[in-house]
Amino acid sequence: MKKTFLSIILFTLSLSVFANDLDKLKAVTTTPEKLTGIFAQTKFLAQLDTSIKSTGAFNYIRDTKIVWHTLTPIDSTLELTPKTILNYQDGVQVNKLDSNTNSIVAVFSDIFFGVMTAQWQVLEEYFSVSAEVSEGHWKATLIPIDKNIGGFISKVILEGDKYLKQVTLYEPEGNLTHIEFDQLQQK
């Protein structure tokens, strides 16, 4: 009886902390209607024990489209809408995926949108979010709730001030992708 009571208290406590974290995050961060910027990405490949680096530019229109343009070392563009994922190379479309026919595409596109535009409501659907907020700087740690997503991503750390500045994606096999954003402009 005591135990149950205690766990209920703990549970409600954790819930309130949980809610507070998110509320704070929502208060600090902004997701502008449109944003452009450049990125530098380092991908650590556990199998090879090396990192591969790439840079490029990105822009997004909230809830509509994200264009992720890798410029070095190869020219490749990933264009996401909530329903489709398109892949261009040297301006030629090489791949098109539709979330209507493939559940993985739907989840993939949701998470990508959520992470890149720090949309907490969307991310809450897939992750448990914990956050530290201090003096306009924040850091959020995302742990997937669902086993299926856990198969692709084991943890995501987002950091930023007004905007999202850094993303680190941890994959279960030890691969790690670190992205830093710069020259962010609302347009």
Partner: protein
């Protein structure tokens, strides 16, 4: 003589009680399924088996769609609903489709070289290695990807392409352990309830339906909409409708009889005398039918309610005559008429048993046994219980009988008016000719649909949200073995792909997309080997693989990469989409189903049929079209039988009535033709159920004519005929109001048909009473 009656009555009473007790111990469900009405027609056994399997798959599940304005309330609703459905444990369980996607993610990884996604395989066949190389690099640099990035085990991201190329049957994604529908605007989730017994099982209906209904009501108060799809809903609705319509039609009929008889006889006893044989007839009919068949169809019961109308004829005649004569005299006087009436009716209905239409067979059994039982009860019970009628009313005609008879006497007789008679016959002949040439038969499957439109709409909404195609057509691919079946499917898919290319077909789902044939898997591995040969060096250079890493990567492909066997595949969750596909059928063959997506136009159906016709391993199946075709076939069968029955009975009656046979036959013929013409006028066509109703019209009309002819115009016979017509009209008048299309089409014929026969009969009577 008297002892014989008593003994006979005793034996008959014991028989009735025993058979009813027997039937009472057997629980028989009421069936409303369209499929149950369909004959076991000439199909390939394999095709039939697969169709049954498909139907069963839909039958035992209830799909529950929960939608709300926001995600949180939808999810809260889901947990409330789940816990309420939890109370049904043992009757129905919630299934979790969620686990299916999870285990498959990495289970297929070892087979990445053998499975290959379709676009990749196509690229490699066209030796477009460069594009795969570029796509792999782009995936490597992409911030996120499906499947692990591993430049040694899978440098060209073949596994990721397999995952992304996989299509699901339903449009759902997994969200925190729940299935969320992706094709719907509002946040919507899917729950699937699996029934342990078939949906026609009444206890299952009684337990599951109240829970489903209360969930729906409770949720709608909270602004959450809950929609269901599943045969259970239709079965339960059908059973409910059957109960309601039987009680209204049956009650209406009985109430009508009670009121009329009390008005005519001004006593209660004759009422009981008339109803006893009718009740025995119905009891025996229900008992025998439920013993004979596994499930009694709604339509049989509805028809059975109408049987009251025929059975009441016998007792009505007996009771009316019993006011003039004693029981044994009545038996002697009426026996030949009653026997002729019975034989002709049983012949007419019994003929339906010759059709391979299960619904019609049930009607035949029900009617024949019901009529025989009612007839026996009239002959065996009534002489014993009507003895007091005569003593009190000797030589007294009932006042109603005299009144009715006076009315009848004012009718002119057709044999006195040769001109009118010829005109009448010409008019009837012209009507029947125009019916023959211009009436359009209607064989739409909607005739069999007993569910109300609102329920059908709800069902369709859920199915559409799930992304299930609305078309009932599919293709069956067969083969002598599992490998042969997969190879046949792959070969035929080339034709389907061509149809997709030219825009005829929206898409399809086939099992060989999930597990290619061994032959295809080996070809894929060879393609990958060529890719490695062409591009592994450039790849290694581009991302800086060491010589050793490159060698390891190459080894994965060169050293017999595994192929996916049907046995292994069957243990994976993805196989849930294709249950039992690797189980041989009773013919020893293996068979799979190709599901077709999108709407099929007439043109695409023709092209698909043409494509299927070129390959004996392929069958194009369209259940809805088959049902309509079957209805059409049996419409012509019933029409033929009507002609044959009229013919046989005319010949039969000719031996008794000689040239006067027209007096008996013309009223039902004319009544039927005019009733059919009315129906064609109202509904723009006619269907099989109109024709089945014509059989009933024939049966009752024939009885009428025979009794009138046998009694040579007795006042009490005319009273009995009028009373039984009136009671039948009451019963069938309500049928014409039925919401069930089948019953409506039945009533719409019987109502005018019987009325016309009753009105026409007096015209046909002989003007010379002394004539035999």
């Amino acid at each position: 003589m008297k002892i014989n009656f008593k003994l006979g009555a005793l034996i008959w009473a014991i028989f009735v009680i025993v058979i009813c007790l027997f039937a009472g111990t057997k629980q028989t469900a009421v069936d409303t399924s369209i499929m149950a009405l369909l004959p076991k027609y000439e199909q390939k056994p394999l095709v039939h088996e697969l169709q049954e399997q498909q139907t069963a798959e839909y039958a035992n599940h209830v799909f529950i769609m929960v939608s709300a304005n926001n995600k949180q309330s939808a999810r809260t609703a889901i947990s409330t609903i789940s816990s309420q459905l939890g109370t049904l444990a043992g009757v129905a369980d919630l299934t979790t489709l969620v686990s299916s996607a999870s285990t498959q993610t990495n289970a297929l990884y070892p087979y990445r070289f053998a499975l290959l996604s379709e676009p990749v395989a196509k690229k490699l066949q066209e030796k477009d290695y460069d594009s795969q190389f570029r796509s792999a690099l782009s995936k490597l640099f992409s911030p996120m990807g499906a499947g692990k990035a591993d430049p040694v085990q899978d440098p060209f991201f073949l596994y990721s392409d397999i995952l992304l190329g996989q299509t699901m049957n339903v449009q759902v994604k997994i969200e925190e352990g729940l299935l969320r529908l992706t094709n719907v605007e509002k946040p919507s989730y899917l729950l699937v309830l699996e029934l342990h017994k078939n949906p026609f099982d009444l206890p299952t209906q009684d337990q599951v339906m109240p829970v489903l209904q209360s969930i729906k009501q409770q949720m709608s108060k909270q602004g959450v909409s809950v929609s269901y799809s599943g045969l259970l809903l239709h079965a339960a609705k059908g059973a409910e409708q059957a109960k309601f319509e039987i009680s209204t039609i049956g009650l209406g009929s009985i109430l009508g009889i009670v009121i009329i008889i009390i008005l005519v006889f001004r006593r209660i006893v004759p009422l009981l005398q008339i109803l006893l044989p009718v009740m025995v007839g119905c009891l025996v009919a229900v008992a025998v039918t439920s013993l004979w068949f596994e499930r009694v169809h709604l339509i049989t019961i509805a028809f059975g309610a109408g049987l009251v109308g025929v059975a009441v004829d016998y007792s009505m005649h007996f009771v009316c005559e019993s006011y003039l004569h004693t029981g044994t005299t009545v038996v002697r006087k009426l026996f030949s008429g009653l026997l002729l009436g019975l034989v002709s009716s049983v012949l007419a209905y019994g003929g339906l048993a010759l059709t391979p239409f299960p619904g019609l067979q049930q009607i035949a059994v029900f009617s024949a046994t019901g009529l025989i039982a009612a007839w026996l009860s009239v002959l065996l019970f009534l002489p014993l219980i009507t003895t007091k009628n005569t003593l009190q009313n000797k030589e007294n005609y009932l006042p109603t009988a005299l009144l009715l008879n006076r009315c009848k006497e004012t009718f002119p007789k057709l044999d006195q008016l040769p001109k009118v008679a010829s005109l009448f016959i010409i008019a009837i002949a012209a009507t029947s000719l125009s019916l023959f040439f211009w009436a359009t038969p209607q064989d739409s499957v909607r005739l069999l649909q007993t569910s109300p439109p609102s329920l059908l709409k709800e069902d369709q909404q859920v199915q559409q949200a799930l992304g299930n195609s609305v078309n009932s057509a599919f293709l069956i691919v067969s083969g002598n073995g599992a490998e042969a079946m997969l190879e046949n499917e792959e070969l035929f898919r080339l034709q389907l792909d061509a149809l997709i290319q030219n825009g005829t077909l929206a898409g399809y789902q086939a099992v060989s997309q999930s597990i290619p044939s061994l032959q295809r898997q080996r070809q894929n591995i060879d393609l990958v080997k060529q890719l490695y040969q062409a591009k592994l060096d450039s790849y290694a250079q581009a991302i800086g693989l060491s010589a050793q890493q490159k060698a390891i990567a190459n080894n994965y492909v060169q050293e017999n990469p595994p192929t996916l066997s049907p046995e292994r595949w069957s243990t994976l969750a993805i196989s849930a989409q294709w249950p039992g596909v690797f189980t041989p059928h009773s013919t020893g063959e293996y068979a799979s189903i190709i599901r077709l997506k999108g709407h099929l136009s007439e043109d695409s159906i023709q092209q698909l049929q043409a494509a299927a016709a070129t390959d004996h391993n392929i069958d194009y199946v369209d259940q809805i079209a088959d049902i309509s075709a079957t209805l059409a076939r049996y419409r012509t069968k019933v029409a033929d039988w009507l002609f044959v029955a009229y013919g046989i009975i005319t010949v039969l009656l000719f031996f008794r009535y000689r040239l006067n046979v027209w007096r008996v036959m013309l009223p039902p013929i004319a009544g039927s033709i005019i009733a059919l013409a009315c129906t064609v006028f109202i509904n723009g066509g006619y269907n099989i159920f109109n024709l089945v109703a014509l059989m009933l019209v024939f049966g009752i009309g024939l009885d009428m004519g025979i009794f009138l002819q046998e009694s040579r115009g007795s006042a009490h016979t005319w009273l009995a005929v009028s009373l039984s017509t009136l009671t039948s009209l009451l019963a069938f008048g309500l049928l014409a109001l039925s919401k069930t299309p089948v019953l409506y089409h039945f009533g719409i014929i019987v109502l005018p048909g019987l009325l016309l026969i009753w009105l026409l009969s007096p015209f046909m009577q002989t003007s010379r009473l002394e004539t035999q």
